[in-house]
Amino acid sequence: MNAQMNIPQELFTPAGDNTAKQEHIARQHHSAFYDGWIRLRKNKAAVVCAVIILIIAVMSIVVPMTSKYTYFDTDYANKIAKPSAEHPFGTDLFGRDQWVRIWYGTGISLLIGLAAALINLLIGVFYGAISAIMGGKVDAIMQRIIEVLVGIPSLIIVILFMMALPPGIWTIIAAMSVTGWVNMARLVRAKILNLKSQEFVLAAQLLGTSTWKIILRHLIPNTISVIVIQVMFAIPSAIFTEAFLSFIGVGLSEPKASLGVLINNGYKALRAAPFLLIYPAIAIILIMICFSIVGDGLRDAFDPRMKH
């Protein structure tokens, strides 16, 4: 105890004014996106799935281009061949190489999923943003329209569109876009309305920032995470819808292939050649799982407050 008393007075120096030090930000400055990216990187499953999706996407372009078989060349001498070194996934009822057809079909399915998701994004974001930013009467009318559209069972309407329009990839994409954008519009509107009432927007307004600048610098960047997450969920849902349409026979027509067409063909040949169903089934399940996990990962990383 006494030792403490013996400390000489000179050793004590005034702490001084070190507010600068107190306010020093030790952590590097990261943008919200970089933060999200760090969180996403830690999610091993999501990273692995994202890599798998990339590999699948590349393979679906490369394999049909480099293989000596095509997705439409028939070889009746060699139909329903079991998987072998020559035909890794066997051949179908028309002797077409299933390996190439599955990769080609995967590519078409991915293309449809991506295109449909992007169209939904465009329409949905514009609709939602205009509705939220304009507010008032415009918003009221636009919301009434949405409320009417929400009641429509979309898959049924998509099937009817597919029946009425000439079959093809773009018909499917267009049909899916008729009601597909509604969810995106609602999410974007809700997010922007929420942002609009926050203090930093009010501060920007008080500082005299123009409306356009507020939209471009504050509202849009803060909405991107919601949009990206929604797109990640829209892609597998569009892939599912396409497969479903082709499976019940109103989607793509032969010899074009998508995963749905392949599953439909495989299902018809179930007794004779179960592998014709099983490989495309595995392909679509794998793709759906990967998108679902990446979507979840993105949501956890970029919107940590959002509930599952």
Binding site: R144, V148, I152, I159, F244, R271, A281, I284, K307
Partner: protein
């Protein structure tokens, strides 16, 4: 409350009208007529006109539409082109039974297994059952129902021969289709209740209950479940809708005489009247389900106030 329901009913009427107009237009664009093309063209002109007049197809399109809406309000959807001379409503009603059975079974299996798994998973957070449930949830959401149905049919019907497939005679025929349809509600439910329960378990009143020395089981039943199960009502709407669309493919895979199978059949047969009738039926069912879900949720959970559109969000 009455005002809220009234408002919703008005929206429903508008939506139904839009669906009817849309369907009607699409049916008019569709190539081909309900008549057998070759045989129809071989008829004399007078007979052709007579056949068209019989189905009201000789009038201008707007009048056809007005008449269609008028008849629809009277519950008359016309007669099926494929099942000659049988009214559409009769065709549809004769098919509801099997669909309702399969749908109800799928929902019950999904709810029972999904809720139990989800609750156990939340209580044993990060344990084996939790991981298992999460894997199952991802699978259930990712595997398309028609793929599941086709694979089930192959393994349990064709290969193992455990359950009948391809006909509809006894209850055992409904097992595989119900199982095929239950994956998605099961997964949605397990995932949802897990998150909800985890959320509730972190609330202060649970900590209080724990510190009072309440047993785990008692606390779960008295405090946790009551609060975590109520929000499950909100996902019932989307779940029922998923079942409806899922049944389209699953019923035709298992050759079940239900309305889902009827829809796919009618699409293939160009049976326009049945398609329109079913579209209206599906839309009505869909909207009524969502309305019931929203209203029930407001009634059951005192924390929710139905205030116009907030409740619909």
């Amino acid at each position: 409350m009455a005002k809220y329901i009234g408002k919703r009913l008005i929206y429903m009427a508008v939506t139904l009208f839009v669906v009817a107009a849309l369907t009607f237009t699409l049916m008019k664009i569709l190539p081909g007529s309900p008549f057998d093309e070759e045989r129809f063209l071989r008829l004399e002109e007078a007979k052709q006109a007579e056949a068209l007049a019989r189905y009201g197809l000789d009038k201008p399109v707007p009048i056809q539409f007005a008449r269609y809406i008028g008849n629809m309000l009277k519950g008359d959807f016309g007669i099926s082109f494929y099942y000659t001379n049988i009214p559409v409503t009769k065709v549809i009603f004769s098919r509801i039974g099997p669909s309702a059975l399969i749908g109800a079974q799928a929902i019950l299996i999904g709810l029972a297994i999904g809720l139990s798994l989800g609750i156990i998973a939340a209580c044993r957070h990060n344990g084996f059952i939790d991981n298992f449930t999460m894997v199952l949830a991802v699978l259930g959401i990712s595997v398309p129902n028609f793929v599941a149905a086709a694979l089930l049919q192959y393994y349990f019907g064709l290969k193992l021969g455990w359950l009948p497939i391809g006909f509809w005679k006894s209850w055992s025929c409904s097992v595989l289709p119900s199982v095929a349809l239950c994956f998605s509600p099961l997964a949605t439910c397990a995932r949802f209740i897990r998150t909800e329960t985890l959320d509730v378990l972190q609330q202060d009143y649970i900590v209080t209950a724990r510190s009072k020395g309440m047993t785990q089981a008692r606390m779960l039943i008295k405090h946790t479940l009551r609060n975590s199960i109520i929000p499950v009502i909100t996902i019932m709407g989307p779940m029922v809708v998923n079942l409806l669309t899922g049944s389209l493919a699953v019923e035709s895979i298992f050759s079940i005489p239900g309305i889902g199978g009827l829809f796919t059949e009618s699409v293939k047969n160009n049976d326009y009247n049945v398609i329109m009738g079913l579209t209206m039926f599906y839309s009505l069912f869909y909207m009524v389900t969502i309305l019931i879900v929203d209203v029930t949720y407001g009634l059951v959970d005192p924390r929710i106030h139905i205030a116009g559109e907030e409740a619909a969000e």
